[in-house]
């Protein structure tokens, strides 16, 4: 066990990204207070451009590696890739939903909390010890609690916020219990040390209990079955942009931390958790897809589909290998674009029509061909239909488990074809039906850009995944270098 060496110099430049994001969040908050009410819709642009700038800085930092504070904070391409993913997600959510947010009001709070949630995710991606992990997780969760009930005059939104805070609190408690057991067993909070100490001990029942707690606590965050009950209600009640960010950002960040925790700290007991994760992944895929079938609200449909997506991503954890980590990161990245596309359409549609019901999407292909096309592409990418990105993503994920978990490959691929059934129901309504109100929907500039970007990225990664695949390989490789 290495005690903290506080005399070690800390290189503040290593934390540039986190500091910039924190500054941006605070800046937006202050700007919101000092700017007149009419000018606050400009805050969206400030946040968006700020995030884009920070993404630019992040790209120049590619290749950095190191540890801060004796392994509390890990810097590598793995963390950096996740950070870029989160910021891209946040930027897309902000760009695509400015009008929605203007309608709700509270722009300053909305934008700054979105940025703080992003900061929490970034801390999670770099967390090298249990405390940092928890810190990042709570920073993200608390920001989300406020965001979920942002539409404070809407009962559904407030109800969703209550549900989220209660269940998030409970799951945090379970997670903390697991973390403290882990600390009790090993006497360390640093993941790398925990890994070394566990490798020397026999597997005790307390450790198994800790594992169960960790899986349950984090399973809540990624809404894996059976810890998924909260997510359809919260997704439905929350303002759509928040739902969107919750389903991509929060989920991706939780996967980032799950990989770190299980593969960095707990590889010694791999055989104790691999099968559990595999079974949970299977159940999650099945339940998520089957329950999505009868949904009539587009947001609930997307909520269940995102449960199923989490199931696919879990597949990559099972082997605890570089290839698996690569699969998770690749899929999470493209999932961000598919989700952003689908939810931006849903949010914009709600803005225009005030409805989230699937039946009101009738004739969308005639009212706005772009919105219908983006929705279709996003959904089909989630279903894994080539040549869209989801297909390549699933290929990377499932190829890791062919040896040993062939049954899960069958479940995953057959259920993704079943999922086409409900995705195509959306297509049916949008393309076949005649619109009740045939007036065309004019899509505003920033939204058009968001939609086209998400669609093009989904298509390009699907057809030519080579470059992204190289980047993710390098990120996954850096995971094991500590």
């Amino acid at each position: 066990m290495t005690p903290f060496d506080f005399s070690m110099p800390i290189n503040p430049a290593a934390l540039t990204l986190e500091m910039l994001v924190a500054a941006l969040g605070l800046g937006v908050l202050i700007l919101g207070i000092i700017s007149p009410k009419g000018a606050r819709s400009g805050l969206g642009w400030v946040s968006f451009l700020g995030l884009m700038g920070i993404i630019g800085v992040a790209i120049t930092m590619w290749g950095q590696s190191g540890e801060l504070l004796a392994g509390m904070y890990l810097l590598d391409n793995y963390a950096l890739f996740w950070k870029i993913t989160f910021m891209v997600a946040a930027a897309l959510v902000i760009l695509g939903n400015m009008r929605y947010v203007d309608n709700v009001g509270h722009q300053a709070e909305y934008y700054s909390l979105t940025i703080f949630a992003t900061l929490g995710m970034m801390v999670m991606a770099s967390a090298g010890d249990l405390m940092t992990l928890y810190l990042g997780l709570e920073l993200m969760t608390i920001a989300f609690v406020v965001l979920v009930c942002l539409r404070k005059k809407d009962n559904k939104s407030v109800e969703a916020g209550m549900k989220y805070i209660l269940l998030a609190g409970m799951s945090s408690a379970v997670l903390l219990y697991g973390l403290s057991l882990l600390y009790g067993l090993t006497g360390s909070v640093i993941m790398l040390d925990i890994s070394r100490i566990i490798a020397m001990q026999p597997v005790s029942s307390a450790l198994v209990l800790a594992l169960v707690m960790l899986i349950a606590g984090l399973g809540f965050k990624i809404s894996a079955v059976p810890f998924h009950m909260w997510s359809p209600d919260v997704y439905e009640g929350a303002p759509t942009p928040v739902t969107s960010f919750l389903s991509m950002g929060s989920k991706a960040a939780s996967f980032a931390i799950i990989l770190r925790l299980f593969i960095t700290a707990l590889p010694g007991v791999w055989e104790n958790w691999a099968m559990v994760i595999a079974i949970l992944a299977g159940i999650t895929i099945i339940i998520g897809n089957l329950v999505a079938i009868p949904q009539t609200s587009i947001k609930r449909l997307l909520a269940y589909s995102s449960i199923a997506q989490a199931g696919y991503i879990m597949v990559g954890m099972v082997t605890a290998s570089e290839a698996g980590i690569k699969g998770v990161m690749f899929y999470a990245f493209l999932y961000v674009f598919a989700t952003a596309g689908a939810f931006t359409v849903a949010a914009y549609f709600y803005n225009v029509t005030g409805s989230d019901e699937l039946k009101d999407y009738a004739g969308l292909s005639q009212r706005s061909p772009l919105m219908a096309a983006v929705m279709l592409v996003a959904l089909l990418s989630m279903a894994g239909i080539p040549p869209l990105a989801g297909f390549v993503g699933k290929f990377y994920l499932f190829k890791t488990i062919v040896d040993g978990y062939l049954w899960l490959v069958f479940i995953g691929l057959i259920m993704s074809m079943v999922s086409v059934y409900y995705y195509l129901r959306v297509a049916l309504v949008m393309y076949r039906d005649e619109p009740k109100d045939p007036s065309p929907i004019n899509v505003s500039g920033p939204v058009t850009v968001t939609l086209i970007v998400t669609m093009l990225v989904t298509l390009i990664i699907g057809i030519y995944p080579g470059p992204l695949s190289e980047v993710v390989n390098s990120a996954a490789h850096s995971f094991f270098l500590h």
């Binding site: 080539p386 040896d403 069958f410 057959i414 059934y421 195509l424 080579g466």
Partner: protein
């Protein structure tokens, strides 16, 4: 670098589709012309490729390779050999004709032709891709345009078009899920064995042929399930009659004409070639399923009164011959399989386009309601009867020689089963002639006297496909020499394993 002819063939319809996005949606004639030009470019170039292919040299020609995904060993590899060129040509013949068979579509024509062009490009891609991954990209891309086309422009008769579309889609996707499991497992196993991932057909096959008998058997089984459901192998055929009945004419033409042939093409060029030991294990079962399909679907066709159902069942029945022929695993059989796919494609497309026109004009497909259309619409009747005669294998038309070849190949290997298969021809003759007689040569009905015969652009499917029917019938060597130059080297590469046979 030479002129990338295959890439141009592949991209022409896609470019046309992109152009259509910017054509105003009211300009119906412009839209159709752009689509026709796009497919004509592909057709002309694929004719050029077909006749400049050097058969004495054989192997892959017009090849083009770009490294694509490094860690999966994927290359964007387009190439054509003696098996893929006939299928490519077939796709373009039918694609070009399908544009004209849809000339009278006036409900949202722009969307229709964009989807149709994407569909054609997707089908072409599967035939010229020489990399398993790229093949898969094209393989499933076709499913979604078809779904949308059926639900918007399809027709509800015995089953609703929504039902037909969903059945078609889900059946094929579930089939392809099994195929995907097989492909992913094959990829993992071959790259573990060789250490270098390689997904090109040839590169993968070299390694895959060394896999243990057991692995080959279950992997082949999965592929058989996937490709088999696409080629409507009995008992996975039930999507086919319903799907064709619900689909608009162009989709029926392309689906029955070329799309289901991807199943047979995949069986020959991927499953049999890569997993020969698996193939020889499954061959007897395939033969039984093939013959069962021939007999069952022919009986089914006999009982139908809806023209599209007759042709739908008949196509299942004809595909039974293809499966039987593949199951022979000898050069004659494989030649027959590929040739029969070509022949049936031309014939089925002509059939569906004629039925489409009949339905457009009479608003019915119900055979007893037709009377004697031959007097009222003689040109339509010519097309219909040519397709019908080809379907029952009349010498002088394109399907005679392929079917004959199949019987020779199958008789050698399966004896009695082949006899049952041959007997299927009699039933085919029965239902085809009966449908023809009751539709065209009965007493003319006065309410159809005002019908206009097909003319102008509507004649294109009849001329294009009819010419191929006749030329292919009189000069079968045009087709067979080409196919043979592709099948012989493929068979030579696996004949040792085939002789040993696959054992569990």
């Amino acid at each position: 670098m030479d002129f990338p002819i295959l890439l141009t063939i592949l991209l022409a319809p896609i470019v046309a589709a992109l152009v259509l996005v910017f054509v105003p949606k009211e300009e119906s004639l412009t839209i159709k012309s752009v689509a026709a030009v796009g497919t004509f470019v592909s057709l002309a170039l694929s004719l050029y490729a077909y006749f400049t292919y050097d058969q004495s040299l054989g192997g892959l020609q017009f090849a083009m390779q770009i490294p694509w995904i490094q860690d999966l060993g994927v290359t964007f590899f387009l190439a054509a050999d003696g098996i893929s060129l006939p299928m490519l040509l077939l796709t373009n013949l039918i694609g070009f004709s399908a544009i004209f068979a849809s000339w009278n579509i006036n409900n949202r024509p722009r969307e229709f032709f964009i989807l149709l062009l994407l569909l054609i490009a997707g089908v072409m891609g599967t035939f010229i891709a020489h990399d398993l991954f790229i093949f898969l990209l094209f393989y499933e891309v076709v499913v979604i345009p078809i779904y949308i086309m059926v639900v918007i422009w399809g027709s509800s008769k015995r089953v609703t078009k929504e039902y037909a579309a969903m059945k078609l889609t889900i059946y094929l996707l579930i089939g392809s899920a099994f195929l995907l499991v097989g492909v992913i497992a094959l990829f993992v196993k071959t790259s573990a064995m060789s250490g270098v991932p390689d997904m090109s057909f040839t590169g993968m096959a070299v390694v895959a042929q060394q896999l243990s008998g057991f692995d080959q058997i279950w992997l082949f089984g999965l592929m058989l399930l996937g490709f088999g459901s696409l080629i409507s192998m009995w008992p996975f055929h039930s999507w086919s009659p319903d799907g064709y009945a619900g689909a608009p004419t162009a989709v029926s033409m392309i689906h029955a004409g070329v799309l289901k042939k991807i199943g047979g093409y995949g069986l020959v060029k991927i499953a049999v070639f890569m997993l020969p030991a698996g193939a020889s294990f499954w061959a007897p079962y395939m033969a039984v399923l093939g013959v069962a399909g021939v007999a069952y679907a022919a009986m089914g066709a006999l009982a139908q009164k809806d023209l599209k159902y007759v042709v739908g069942y008949s196509s299942v029945s004809h595909m039974g011959y293809v499966i039987l022929a593949v199951a022979c695993l000898n050069v004659i059989g494989l030649n027959g399989a590929v040739a029969n796919m070509f022949a049936h494609g031309v014939m089925a497309a002509l059939f569906f386009s004629m039925i489409g026109f009949i339905y457009e004009k009479t608003h019915t497909r119900w055979i007893p309601d037709m009377g004697g259309l031959a007097r009222q619409t003689p040109r339509l009747a010519v097309g219909f009867m040519m397709a019908a005669m080809a379907s029952l294998g009349l010498p002088g038309l394109i399907s005679f020689v392929p079917e004959f070849t199949i019987f020779i190949g199958a008789f050698d290997v399966y004896g009695g089963l082949a006899v049952v298969g041959i007997a299927g021809i009699i039933i085919t003759a029965l239902y085809v002639l009966r449908a023809g007689a009751n539709t065209l040569f009965g007493p003319p009905r006065p309410e159809y006297d005002h019908l206009k015969d097909i003319r102008g652009p509507e004649m294109v499917p009849l001329i294009v496909l009819g010419t191929v029917l006749v030329v292919g019938g009189f000069l079968p060597s045009l087709l067979f020499d080409m196919i043979n130059s592709g099948v012989v080297p493929l068979h030579a590469a696996i004949s040792d394993v085939l002789q040993l046979g696959g054992k569990l």
